[in-house]
């Protein structure tokens, strides 16, 4: 009985379960509390199953495919679970699992304000869409699930629809997503057409595309269309504008999913299409991916640094991390083209590993931001501070996220970036001098991005959780604030006073643990992942990676480079412990005293460094990249022109790309439509003249 349970079956069943959750949700509309607990538990369960299926499938390096008779009879939905899709199933499933647990607590906050039924329904649909995207094995079902994902997340962003920024963001998001989807559709169209020349429908299946050989020109067109289509979804600069709008305004559990995993489906698409369906037939494909990756990485983190809205900051940092992932994949493409399978495997795994990592820590960070929002109703960091006293758990977990995302050992972010660096360092073995000279500069840019993101998250954590409350009203918001009506122990302010409930904490704790484990056991993870590189680039790095055993990660060769996260962790902890004990043998008293601050007096909370001031030096240095408007207005008391009562500092940092790309398009289309409107100018004679001229012209055209 057990024997005939396959990974595929498990994954499929998890999807069924999700659909069931939707139906149940529809019926439980009346009892909101029950609705939340039931449907989110089901969702969590199914996501867990999906990720198990994925782990199992990848581990077994196993492929199963089937067709279910939906869609057009001649083109039923093909589903397929291979290592690649299995891996992404893990990425999506795992985080969705954490987030669903988290939602059990988070969504309760909406009760009493609005019905959460359609939030729940679209949440489930959203996850279903992502699973289907990963599993689907023909163009039609892929696009259907792709757009299903987009549409449901659109409604999720729209959830609090009375706020205008939600509507604007949702609209922008859907338009960009749809345009991207059309590009993908076209690329599939090319592939299908070249496969069968549209004699029938079977050209649309991925299998047919895998077998087919494509002429270089068409292949390039298909690749570019697909890449830009997916890039629009992944938020690669300059297609990123929707991302910092949509992610912040969505409910935090949703933004966690959107940032954490929805972007990854785009990565999946790029890998699937370029490596699996088309096959790399030009080295500069890789170069394009690499360049876009680098641009996104650096600009993304720079923009992130300029934000003061916590969730916006996280959104921009997603742009950065997508960039880092693309760097790995781009390198992999280049290596593949030059037939260096081992290096290709290394860089591909680096990219995919970062995909997994980013899902974990970005999910964690968004959940943390959600918790803060939940407790304080405040999105602007400038108003926060000192929350580490009020919500110790959240603070600690958020810190874990920050460390991981800033690529600091021994957490997971570091491993993947280290592997990427190794890939860069190995590029000199390429035989093209030009690339040899240029790729290292890419490495430098990556280093820059990494360091900047460390700065960025020092700012994020420091300003949000450390120091003292910066808000204009002198303490964190009173506790009976609307969102947290379920109510916890009615402590006002005090220690742990604002801490969120256990569901949310557990969700975050699990994510944090995932970050740690992925960080200290990279060798095992890579051993597990090698089925991927086997499938895509036909080589694996496990043998060399595990050469020294599980303790040391040694890509390529141990004299090349090695890294042992466990030892780092253990030694540091040991030393810390030792020092601590030694210093506490002799009891030295610890006095609490007011700030010394170089002997300055009357230090108020508003004097602390804020996000704006923290990022000032970097803003100065990289200012040319932004459109910055800052003005200082001094407010003078009447009759005293010399000593200003207070200074108003106003700073506005804007994304250049909006003005560069998007506004022109909008203006142009309005202009055209105004011109076209002249056609319809009311007088019937005119219309008759149109018909008259039309027929004359056609008759002439005939001759």
């Amino acid at each position: 009985m057990i024997s005939d349970i396959t990974p595929f079956g498990t994954a499929f069943f998890s999807i069924i379960l999700l659909l069931a959750a939707i139906v149940i949700a529809a019926f439980l509309n009346k009892y909101q509390k029950l609705l939340i607990s039931v449907s989110f538990s089901i969702t969590a369960l199914s996501c867990l199953m999906a990720s198990i299926a994925g782990i199992w499938g990848v581990g077994a390096g196993y492929v199963e495919s089937t067709t279910i008779s939906m869609g057009i009879p001649d083109l039923p939905f093909h589903l397929r679970l291979d290592p690649l899709s299995g891996f992404f199933l893990v990425v999506v499933g795992l985080l969705s699992f954490f987030v669903s647990v988290y939602s059990l607590g988070y969504v309760k906050g909406f009760i009493g304000h609005r019905s959460v039924t359609h939030l729940v329904i679209f949440y489930c649909l959203f996850i279903t869409g992502m699973f289907l995207v990963i599993l689907s094995d023909d163009a039609l079902s892929f696009l259907i699930s792709w757009e299903l994902m987009a549409a449901s997340s659109y409604f999720l962003v729209m959830f609090e629809d009375e706020r205008v920024e939600n509507r604007r963001a949702a609209f922008l998001y859907l338009v960009v997503a749809h345009v991207g989807a059309i590009a993908i559709l076209l690329s599939f169209g090319i592939l299908a057409g070249l496969t069968t020349g549209f004699k029938g429908f079977d050209g649309y299946t991925f299998d047919a595309m895998r077998q087919a050989e494509f002429p270089a020109g068409w292949a390039t067109a298909a690749f570019l269309l697909a890449f830009f289509g997916f890039a629009a979804k992944a938020g690669v600069i300059p297609f990123h504008v929707w991302l910092p709008e949509a992610h912040p305004v969505a409910p935090s559990n949703v933004s966690a999913l959107m940032s954490g995993v929805m972007l990854k489906t785009a990565i999946y698409g790029i890998v699937r299409v370029s490596f699996d369906l088309i096959g790399i037939s030009n080295w500069w494909w890789g170069a394009i991916v690499l360049i876009f990756g680098l641009i996104s990485a650096v600009l993304g983190v720079l923009y992130a640094l300029m934000q003061h809205d916590l969730k916006r900051l996280l959104a921009y940092s997603s742009v950065e991390n997508i960039g880092i992932i693309l760097i790995g994949i781009g390198l992999a493409m280049i290596f593949t083209y030059f037939e260096m399978p081992q290096l290709a495997a290394l860089s591909l795994l680096a990219g995919l590993y970062h995909t997994l990592n980013h899902a974990m820590f970005k999910g964690l960070l968004f959940m943390g931001a959600g918790a803060v929002l939940y407790a304080t109703k405040e999105r602007s960091m400038e108003e926060m501070g000192g929350l580490i006293h009020k919500m110790p758990w959240t603070a600690a977990l958020f810190l874990v996220g920050c460390i991981s995302i800033s690529a600091l050992p021994p957490f997971n972010g570091f491993v993947s970036e280290w592997l990427t660096f190794q890939a860069f360092l190995l590029s000199p073995s390429l035989q093209t001098p030009l690339l040899n000279l240029l790729i290292p500069l890419g490495a430098a840019l990556l280093a820059l991005a990494a360091a900047l993101s460390a700065a960025c998250f020092v700012m994020a954590f420091g300003v949000t959780f450390l120091g003292r409350w910066r808000g204009h009203h002198n303490s964190p918001p009173p506790f009976d604030s609307p969102l947290s009506k379920g109510g916890y122990r009615g402590v006002k302010g005090g220690n742990g006073g604002l801490e969120v409930d256990w569901y949310m904490r557990i969700g975050m704790i699990m994510a944090a643990l995932a970050c740690l484990i992925l960080g200290i056991l990279p060798t095992m993870t890579i051993g597990w992942m090698d089925a991927l590189s086997e499938q895509l680039v036909g080589d694996k790095i496990t043998i060399t990676a595990g050469e020294f055993g599980w303790l040391w990660l040694t890509p390529i060769a141990h004299e090349r480079a090695s890294y042992s996260a466990p030892i780092v962790l253990i030694v540091v902890l040991a030393v810390v412990l030792l020092a601590y004990i030694l210093l506490h043998i002799r009891k030295a008293a610890v006095h609490r005293a007011p700030l010394w601050d170089c002997g300055f007096e009357k230090v108020t909370n508003r004097m602390q460094y804020s996000a704006a001031s923290f990022s000032m030096p970097i803003r100065r240095i990289f200012g040319f990249l932004f459109s910055i408007r800052e003005d200082v207005r001094a407010v003078y008391p009447t009759g005293n022109p010399l000593f200003p009562k207070r200074l108003r500092y106003h700073l506005k940092v804007r994304d250049r790309f909006w003005g560069l790309f998007y506004k022109p398009v909008a203006d142009a289309s309005i202009w055209i439509s105004r011109k076209v409107g002249k056609l319809q100018q009311g007088r019937i004679q005119m219309y008759l003249i149109y018909s008259f001229i039309t027929i004359i012209v056609l008759l002439l055209f005939l001759r």
Partner: protein, 315 residues
């Protein structure tokens, strides 16, 4: 014998690190005093400072959180770990496989990360200022550092330190333009990372010029002691790193104790020279404005890149 030998080396090296770091700083300060015609407090003054701090009570700011208290220990621990990895005396350290150069940068980064957080924890304007500037400098230094490493790894086909040392020593002394450039870059970066003049002035508490000091302004007692000590070790380690990567001759090869005394001697000499060089720079230059630092590190990046290019073009 061969089993315990590396362990001995390891312990010896950590011991040397802990002991010699203050002496090295003392030496630098002494030279400085002489060069400025002051009478110095003696080479052992750093010991006295640390000892004194250890005996003092701790005064914590009101809303300092656990991060503020945890940071000194972490920084200390990380620095010691780095010390256990950089081959100062001999190449066969059991821990050397734990991390290559990039990981070392990562380790320094995590120390910096927490220091910066500690600076923001107590919620003063200075703390934030220090953290902000520190992170800015770090993020500019990192790319240059990576390019330097890249150049070296081009020569040695590796980023693991003992391997680099091994390769370079075994190849014997060759004049390489790429390495020369890399050295230049490394020196500039080291100055920036360790917060010496002209980037930062460790000796000042002038509000608006301090960077590193601003972050640890509120520390006292054993916390401050640990921070100071770690700082000294950092300087020492950067010197050691530079030596190991660029002038490794004299570092003991695998499996024989005979070389050890010689290695220690060589190390002492090299460190003295390094200290002298540093003092010359510090007395020669004045501290630069904060927004000149990008140019400073930019030139470091330029040197490193030139090194890389010259490897491909000239070698």
């Amino acid at each position: 014998m061969n089993q315990i030998y590396p362990v001995i080396i390891e312990i010896l090296q950590i011991a040397i690190l802990l002991i010699a770091a203050p002496v090295f700083i003392g030496w630098i300060r002494m030279l400085k005093c002489w060069s400025q015609g002051r009478t110095s407090a003696g080479i052992l003054q750093p010991y006295r400072d640390i000892a004194k701090l250890f005996t003092k009570d701790v005064v914590l700011a009101e809303n300092a959180s656990w991060i503020f208290r945890f940071t000194p220990y972490l920084v200390f621990g990380v620095t010691v770990l780095v010390g256990a990895i950089v081959p100062i005396l001999s190449v066969d350290l059991p821990l050397s496989a734990t991390a290559d150069v990039i990981v070392l940068i990562g380790l320094f980064a995590i120390a910096r990360f927490f220091t910066a957080l500690a600076g923001m924890d107590i919620g003063t304007a200075f703390g934030g200022m220090g953290s902000s500037r520190e992170m800015m400098i770090a993020s500019l230094a990192e790319p240059a550092m990576l390019m330097a490493i890249f150049t070296v790894s081009l020569v040695s086909r590796s980023t693991s330190l003992s391997q680099i040392v091994h390769v370079i020593t075994s190849k014997g002394f060759i004049l390489r333009p790429s390495i020369a450039f890399a050295v230049l870059a490394f020196i500039l970066i080291a100055i920036a990372e360790t917060g010496r003049i002209p980037v930062d002035n460790p000796a000042t508490h002038l509000e608006l010029t301090m960077i590193h000091e601003a972050m640890i302004l509120e520390y006292s007692g054993r916390h401050l002691a640990l921070m100071e000590w770690a700082g000294m070790m950092k300087v020492f380690l950067f010197a050691g790193l530079g030596i190991a990567v660029f002038f490794p001759w004299g570092i003991a090869p695998k499996d024989n104790l005979i070389y050890l005394p010689a290695a220690i001697l060589f190390l002492a000499i090299k460190l003295c020279l390094a200290g002298t060089g540093l003092v010359l720079i510090e007395t020669g230059l004045a501290k630069m404005r904060i927004f000149r630092i990008p140019e400073f590190l930019g030139s470091a990046f330029l040197f490193a890149t030139l090194g890389m290019l010259s490897y491909f073009i000239l070698e």
